[in-house]
Symmetry: C2
Subunit: 287 residues, 2 copies
DNA sequence: TTGCTCCTCACGTCACGTGAGGTGGC
DNA sequence: TTGCTCCTCACGTCACGTGAGGTGGC
């Protein structure tokens, strides 16, 4: 017969836990000294305690363990309990996997944002855009509809997203309520579904400029980049791209003064625009 | 400005939760009516509430969220918190995967036990044993050492175990304190490690008998099977196998009267034993 | 007056752990 | 006497949810 301390060492359950299990009616001492209140456990109690311990190690709630102790005395009786419990564990796993995937998305996105921030010059540049696979939602309406569209794409293609989101502008002039644009995210793989079109967006030569500050000040940067293009007589193509290198975060809206947006205008490298076109006439292109 | 009920509908946080967050200093109403105690929230509070909600959806504890709200206002400041939190989520995932794997082991083992129980005849049978891959620990000592040995194999090869555990008896007579035996578990794959030998155990023709009841009564069944072999002059080979179809479970010790053990004695199907051998002399085998 | 919203306060959940203050046996 | 083990009782953890009992405004 063992004192509670010895029984604790034998079973690996703490003294506090043993007292708690008694209170909960899970494990009664063999004998309690009426004088001192000391608990004593006989050797047969060891197996009982270990059964509880093993079930707790499987994360079964004490209430279920109590029921099991009342109704089962063979592994076969446990089967139903364990199978049901397994589905619950599986559900928790799914939850945590979901959380981890959200965390990963936020973390990798943030790391990309920081990389983009570091290597930012704020001058017009010419560079080559590679082709990329994108998931996109075409919208005719207000620009404010792009936020939810990005969210829908993010939810659908989650971990396959591999770069910052951007808008394609199809309009040849500024439009407020019936703009024609497309919310896009580069993805590694995926198939079209419902409203979302998955396709390859061709690359090409482009003129780009990074804009730091809120979106409603993008006009100033458009003025700079468009005059650059006009001076060189480049044949600009639609759609124009606005890449949101840093915008509102997935948690914080962030400070719009810190937003970073890259305007990209693809042009036909084999063509220039005649002087006449600069006065508003249209060109068919040409060497 | 919104009442707590409206604010609850807007943010998706319950009224109780909003009151609780106020008490915890996470989210103060814009204004509290001194007369009625009614809480009122301005529109700017919506974004604040949603930040808390998004962080809670990542399962961050409220204390951390409070710290984040005090010290961060941009996604970049979150990075460290989220990375640390990710490792904690990963740890929880590992825990639950471990639990699931234990559950799976117990469940599949139990299902096998039940299958074995159903198709049990308790007569001597002849059958062919297939070769199998086993993980084994050879022991010279007491039989009571086999329990921990099985546990060690189980811990090491976990999910690759594909059948009931068994003992190989190498002794030609009964031994108490210095028995020579090997604790084995059939596995799908694995490599030898330390004390555990992984190898293919050859099959062959065998005589088998299922024994129901405690192990210390196995002698009775040995008597039956050995006299069967003697009658037919089969050339029995060592080691003899004891397959524990149902023994003490992983949770409950179970009732020894319900234990089910199959004795398997492999014999050389191309040989018989001369009558002289039955009186104790050794045979070299022969057609 | 009825229904609705809002309030506070106390308690429950889950499986223990912490700590104060004290007792009994060697 | 000292040290050790044991006891009880109350409270804390975590993020809320439940429910009782009551008030204020339309």
């Amino acid at each position: 017969v063992f004192s509670i301390g010895d029984f604790s060492k034998i079973t690996g359950l703490t003294v506090k836990t043993l007292r708690f299990y008694q209170e909960q009616g899970l494990l009664q001492p063999s004998w309690v000294d009426a004088q001192t209140g000391y608990r004593y456990f006989a050797a047969e109690k060891i197996e009982e305690a270990l059964v509880i311990k093993r079930l707790r190690e499987l994360d079964l709630p004490l209430a279920q363990i109590a029921e099991i102790l009342r109704t089962c005395d063979d592994e076969a009786d446990l089967l139903g309990y364990l199978q049901r419990h397994r589905t619950e564990i599986e559900a928790k796993l799914a939850q945590f996997r979901q959380i981890r995937s959200s965390l990963d998305q936020i973390i990798t996105h943030q790391l990309e944002v920081q990389r983009a921030m570091q290597q930012s010059t704020f001058q017009v540049e010419e560079k080559h855009l590679p082709a990329m696979l994108i998931a996109a939602i075409r919208i005719k309406g207000k620009y404010s509809e792009s936020g939810p569209a990005f969210a829908r794409i993010g939810r659908k293609y989650g971990r396959h997203i591999c770069g910052p989101c951007f808008l394609l502008h199809y309009d040849h002039e500024y439009r407020e309520d019936d703009a024609d644009f497309e919310a896009c995210m580069p993805i590694r793989k995926g198939a079209s579904a419902e409203e979302i079109s998955v396709r390859e967006l061709p690359g090409g030569a482009c003129v780009s400029l990074r804009h730091r500050g809120p979106w409603d000040e993008l006009g100033r940067s458009y003025a700079v980049i468009l005059s650059y293009i006009a001076q060189r007589r480049y044949a600009a193509q639609t759609p124009t791209r606005e890449v949101y290198l840093k915008g509102p975060g997935m948690i914080f809206r962030g400070n719009p003064k810190k937003y970073l947006t890259e305007i990209q205008i693809v042009f036909d490298a084999a063509a220039t625009v005649a002087a006449a076109d600069l006065r508003g006439e249209r060109s068919a292109g040409g060497a």
